[in-house]
Amino acid sequence: MSFPVLSLLIFMPWVGAFVLLVSPGLGPRAARLLALTFSLSTLLLAGVALCGFDPSAAGYQFPESHDWITSLSVRFRLGLDGLSLILVLLTGVVAPLSLLASWSQANNPRLLCILFLLLQGAALGVFLALDFVPWFLFWELSLVPAYFLIRLWGGAGATRSAYQFVIYTIGGSAFMLLGFAGISLAVGTFDFGELTALAANGTLAVKLTALGGIWPTAIFLGVLLGLAVKVPLFPFHTWLPAAYAEAPTGVSMFLTGVMSKMGVYGFLRILWPLFPSALHTFAPALLWLAVGGVIFGAFAAMRQTDLKRMVAYSSVNHLSYCLLALFAICAISRPGPDAAAAALTGAILQMFNHGISAAALFFCVGVLEVRSGGLRGIGDFGGVRTVAPLFAGLCGISMFSSLGLPGLNGFVGEFLVFRGVFGLVPWAAAISTLGLFATAFFLLTFWQRVFHGPRIGAGKGPFADLSAIEVATLLPLVGLMFLFGLFPQLLTVLINPLVNTWVSHLAMP
Amino acid sequence: MSLDYRTLFEALRPEGALIIGALAVLGFDLSILRRLSESLRYRASLAVGAAAVVVAGCLACCGPYGPVFGGVLILDRLAVATRIGVLSLTLIALGTVASGQKLRHSAEYVAIMLFAASGLTLMAATQQLLVAFLALELASLSLYILAGFDKARPEAAEAGLKYFLFGGMAAAFLLFGFSLIYGLTGSVDLPEIAARLAAHAPGPLLMVALIMVLVAFGFKAAAAPFHLWAPDVYEGAATGSASFIASASKLAGITFFTRILWTGFYPVSGDASSLPLAPGWVPALAAVAGFSMLVGNFGALAQTNIRRLLAYSAISHSGALLLGVIAVGDFGVGPLFYYAFTYGIAVAGAFTVISVVEKSGPCQKITDLGGLFQRAPFLTGCLAIFTLSLAGIPPLAGFFGKFSVFASVLRLGGLGGPVGWLVVLAIALSAVALYYYLIVLKQALVTPAAQGATRIVVAPVAATTLALAAVLIVLLGLRPSLILSLF
């Protein structure tokens, strides 16, 4: 039994939450520092994992496996591959920064920190668990702190939007649970690894068919629904703008930076390997939905006057690229290996990049909100650049990263996705480019109306530039945008073997 | 027919003891006790009466066994058990009297109760129509007087008169029925009658005779539709009399009917365990039983008077008991006796509680029991035991009584036949019954006492009586074999 680095990764934040819970006398500052320390543990341990990570191997590394519920043949299995590692790193970056973004939150900071750490641990669990039951445990548990973070620190409509958020997600999860109950009945295991193997040699499909009737399809649709709501896939996205917009800044950052990746991760880790043929059958329809998400997300964002909702809709758009890539691969029976590899790599990179840039954008909107006393309409600001040049600069970089300017990280992912999809399903790629234009349009409108022109609205009053803590929050994100924009191979090297394995599986009949 | 007077004497020793006791009570009261205070006379009469009952009970235990005096009397297990049962219930009824308000002319009252008891014990053992009728009338006439004894109250007079009129009519029916039977069979001995009936095909005249007898039984047992006297008697009679009428008289009556019907009219019993019905007294009895249970339970729902409620509950229990009579032929008298005896204890206990409460205020309405838990916790506990036993809640005796009776009735033909349906009806109605019993207990246990209600002092005699009854209910409920193994 080697050093259980993955367990530590998951549970360190929870240990932190526990420590905070049992020390009610802690002052706000001490509580925040303690929480930040524990939150940073993820980055540290991810670094440890990265050092020990063998980038050339495609399988799971640092495996851990413990008996858990023997009567349901459930094991507590953890493992790390390139995909997980990238998302763990993303969590390691975004989580402490989100906490930092909430630094000035004066209302019950201890509880805030506890919930944040719980959320962080749950998200890490989702990325590392390799058995459905523990995976689902973390998946569902992440909702609880998220709900309370939105509900207690959110805006005026937080009650309704938090409720909507949880009910939508649980609605999806309930059917996913149902689906897995069926799978477990058919094959008697919850283990993703075993299930993948069974799916690869066709046993899973055969056994599910034995359930008869519409039920094999129903199982697939149940799992799909659970994941689609979480991503969200158009048209299951309606909870997202409300939840992101009502959440406090730090929480929005975490939600968009990390939690929205849980859904895409589920598609790649669960739905695709387990239901290759069903996914193939449904892929044309799903492709339309993904394209719909790309277009609709972008155009809806264009119509928003609330900046936070604008960024939220842009998240719908960006995440749809990831699914677009996946569905494009599934839609055709023998995808070309190059195109498939590009699309997959692009999708994974897009997950990471969107996490960074969307978090940064939410933070920027949060800064505007703080300065204006809660205003975030696009018409409430003007000429901010003149009073806050540093803020304007960093925000601008984040925007350009988000709209995919070459040299910044956003470009790489989107480019690879489009390159792949063009090679696979050209019409989908062609239509989706409309989304690119719309994204550019609304982000530039944002940039122009808020930072340029005469100082109007909230920009007219005293408008302080970024404080030290705010710089500390935003600067690392911007740094990463440059880093991975210029050296995307730092990330691709981690996932190349994985992508190659997947592609080689695709090539097989 | 061998007439052995010595055995007859031995067999009738309990009755003798009772009658001597009654005379002794009267004699003492007229002579020695005359100059003493009212309350001392009262106590002395009760003490002598109780002593006589105890002596009679001891004598009943160790009498001869089998047919006596050429089969005029039969001292089988049922007879012995019923005699002892009747005497125990008489003792409790004396306790009820002792617990309550003092009656004038207590010596006469006690003496009449002893006479009644002797009639009842005789009823338990009789096997001949004439003796049966005499025993019944001995008991009944005493009971009429007991019901109307409290002359000061017009309700008591009404109760006595009503009881007398109905009872007299019932006696007339019974006598008419008996005479027809005698005319048809030429015998007054029950085994003889059975033998003759078995030899002949039943004719319409026999049916008339049977109906006459059953109507009379219905009156005596307060089974619907012949129950109309019961609520008024229970309401108006002195509490001790009501207790005695409801308990001892019922037990003796049930044994009496069982004996006459099963020993005498066995060949014309008919069958109600499956369709089509075979004509006979069993289907008629089943119909009366079902009707009684319906009338009793639904009638009780509407009552606001605790005594009338107990009367309707008695009617419903009569129904269940008559149902039990049906099963005796195949499955023995054990369950029926157990049921009748424990029912008697419970109802006598309940009347004793009423009697104690009455000492410090009226106890007619159910609401008069309000706040009893604050006024007398011990009484409340006893009342809860008696009421729940009447409702048939385990582990109290009332539950096993019903259970064993129903089980034996069901064995006749399962749920498929009419008696099976009656059992289902009875079980369903027990849920209805729980409602009104809980209404009583709600007053006693839940509702707080009215302003100014005083604490009730429970005298030692009352406490002993109640404790005895309660212990019997619990003990017999936990160990039904104590009685069942007698049969």
């Binding site: 569902e140 609880v144 149902l178 | 129903f406 074999s481 193994s485």
Partner: protein, 498 residues
């Protein structure tokens, strides 16, 4: 193991003792009650830990003739299923007493009735003779009336009467069915095994009729739709500890009776009624959930949620395979703990401090700031009730879902909708009751009395149990599953397809 019958005796003795000392010193009555409950629970736990399952069926604890004339024996036996529920009873009783620590009116009597009820429940779970089972079952009915009618709240006399009459009517049906089986088969005893033996000879029609009577009778107590209406009314009217017991344990009596008596005795009858039961279970899950969603009384929400959760138990039983049934038993345990916790928060922690259960009024009270402990407990209990993984509800519902899949996928699908509805009403009540906002500009709210130590202990016990079982469901499943392998259950657990 052989100490298990003492759970019954200890409880009844405790009841008498509490009654005896209650008049003099309420504190003494409380201590007596707590001591008896703890002793009984300790015995239960000890026996469960040292339990050696017997492949042939329940392990006999006591077997003595009781009423030989009718072949009735005082026969107590235990297997994993009864042990699970006995442990639950001990837990619920202990917690219930802790949450009733503040009862000052007629304290001794309260604990006497409470412990009498508990004793009856222990007896039911340990009985191996149908008559004995029935006796204990009825013993458990009457104390409920007084607990509710004397110490209850809203509409208590009506609620108490309705509850008791429903229970009693249910038990009357059971009695009719059992007597029918006893009489029709010419059985010589009321031993469940003996009845099962003669039941083999019954015609299909007889089995169908007997099963209908017995199952319906028990299902009334289990809160099966449409015979559930006593449950919300009764739960709302009852004092906290009684609500905890009613939802936590007494409803389990019904489900246990269905599993232990109705199903194994009349397998043919069961197969006939199986689809109907499954439908009623599913309708109950969804209907009660939807009703809970629109309730305006805090306690009614919990009351209906109990009905909804018991629907899962019935669904598991209806699916009739070892997996679904083991899930149903686990769900009995889980719901017992969770419902107890929810009622404790609503009835004791909140109602006795705010004197209202109207959600509209609680909304303005900002309770999460004023009662943070209660809020935390309620949130955790609510999560458990929603079937959140990590709490006991999840493995139970998952096991039931898997088992139901096997028997009837459509029922599993509808049950999943029920899970969603449960999440919806639980979340709604959490946010309205505890996390409402005080109206702006209103006067600062006065502080509420702090949560007392017994309340904290009780909550910790129950929370600990639900989390422990949530994380280690094997603890119970390993007890339950071997019990279902007994030949006695095999006749009915062949998993007949719906």
């Amino acid at each position: 193991m052989n100490a298990l019958p003492c759970t019954i005796y200890v409880s009844f003795t405790g009841a008498l003792l509490a009654l005896a000392v209650g008049g003099r010193s309420p504190t003494l009555a409380r201590i007596v009650a707590l001591a008896s409950a703890l002793t009984a629970w300790g015995i239960a736990l000890f026996s469960a830990i040292h339990f050696v399952p017997d492949a042939a069926g329940p392990v006999t604890l006591v077997d003595a003739p009781w009423i030989p004339q009718m072949g009735i024996r005082y026969h107590l036996a235990a297997d994993g299923i009864s042990l699970t529920l006995v442990v639950l009873t001990g837990l619920a009783a202990t917690a219930g007493i802790l949450f009733s620590w503040n009862i000052t009116e007629r304290t001794g009597e309260f604990f006497a009735f409470f412990l009498a009820l508990i004793g009856g429940v222990y007896g039911v779970f340990l009985s191996a003779d149908a008559f004995l089972f029935f006796v204990f079952y009825e013993i458990a009915i009457v104390p409920k009336y007084f607990l509710i009618a004397i110490w209850g709240s809203t509409n208590r006399e009506y609620g108490a009467m309705k509850l008791v009459l429903y229970s009693f009517a249910g038990s009357a049906l059971v009695l009719a069915g059992l007597l029918w089986a006893y009489a029709a088969g010419g059985a010589h005893s009321f031993g469940v095994a003996e009845l099962a033996r003669v039941a083999v000879g019954f015609s299909h029609g007889q089995q169908v009729g007997m099963f209908a009577l017995v199952f319906l009778g028990f299902a009334v107590l289990a809160g099966m739709f449409p015979f559930h209406t006593w449950a919300p009314t009764g739960h709302v009217a009852a004092p906290t500890a009684a609500s905890m017991l009613l939802a936590g344990v007494v409803m389990k009596l019904g489900a246990y009776g269905c599993l232990r008596v109705a199903m194994p005795l009349f397998p043919l009858g069961f197969v006939f009624w199986q689809p109907m039961i499954a439908w009623l279970a599913v309708i109950g899950i969804i209907y009660a959930g939807l009703v809970a969603l629109v309730q305006e009384d805090f306690k009614f929400v919990i009351g209906y949620s109990s009905v909804s959760h018991m629907g899962f138990v019935l669904l598991g039983l209806a699916a009739a395979n070892a997996r679904a049934v083991s899930g149903a038993v686990l769900q009995m345990f889980s719901h017992g703990v969770i419902a107890g916790l929810l009622f404790a928060v609503v009835g004791r922690m909140v109602y006795e401090r705010t004197h209202t259960r109207k959600l509209a009024e609680l909304r303005g009270m900002a309770l999460y700031q004023r009662l943070p402990f209660a809020a935390t407990v309620f949130v955790l209990a609510g999560l458990a009730s929603m079937g959140m993984p990590g709490f006991s509800g999840f493995p139970a519902e998952l096991t039931i879902l898997i088992g139901t899949w096997q028997a009837a996928p459509w029922a599993a699908a509808l049950a999943a909708v029920g899970v969603l509805i449960a999440a919806a009403f639980t979340l709604r009540v959490i946010q309205v009751s505890f996390f409402g906002q005080a109206a702006a500009g209103s006067a600062p709210l006065p502080p509420l009395p702090p949560i007392t130590l017994p309340e904290k202990c009780g909550a910790a016990l129950l929370l600990g149990a639900t989390i422990l079982v949530g994380l280690k469901p094997d603890l119970l499943l390993e007890l339950i599953r071997p019990a279902l392998q007994a030949p006695f259950f095999q006749a009915v657990l062949k998993g007949g397809a719906l």
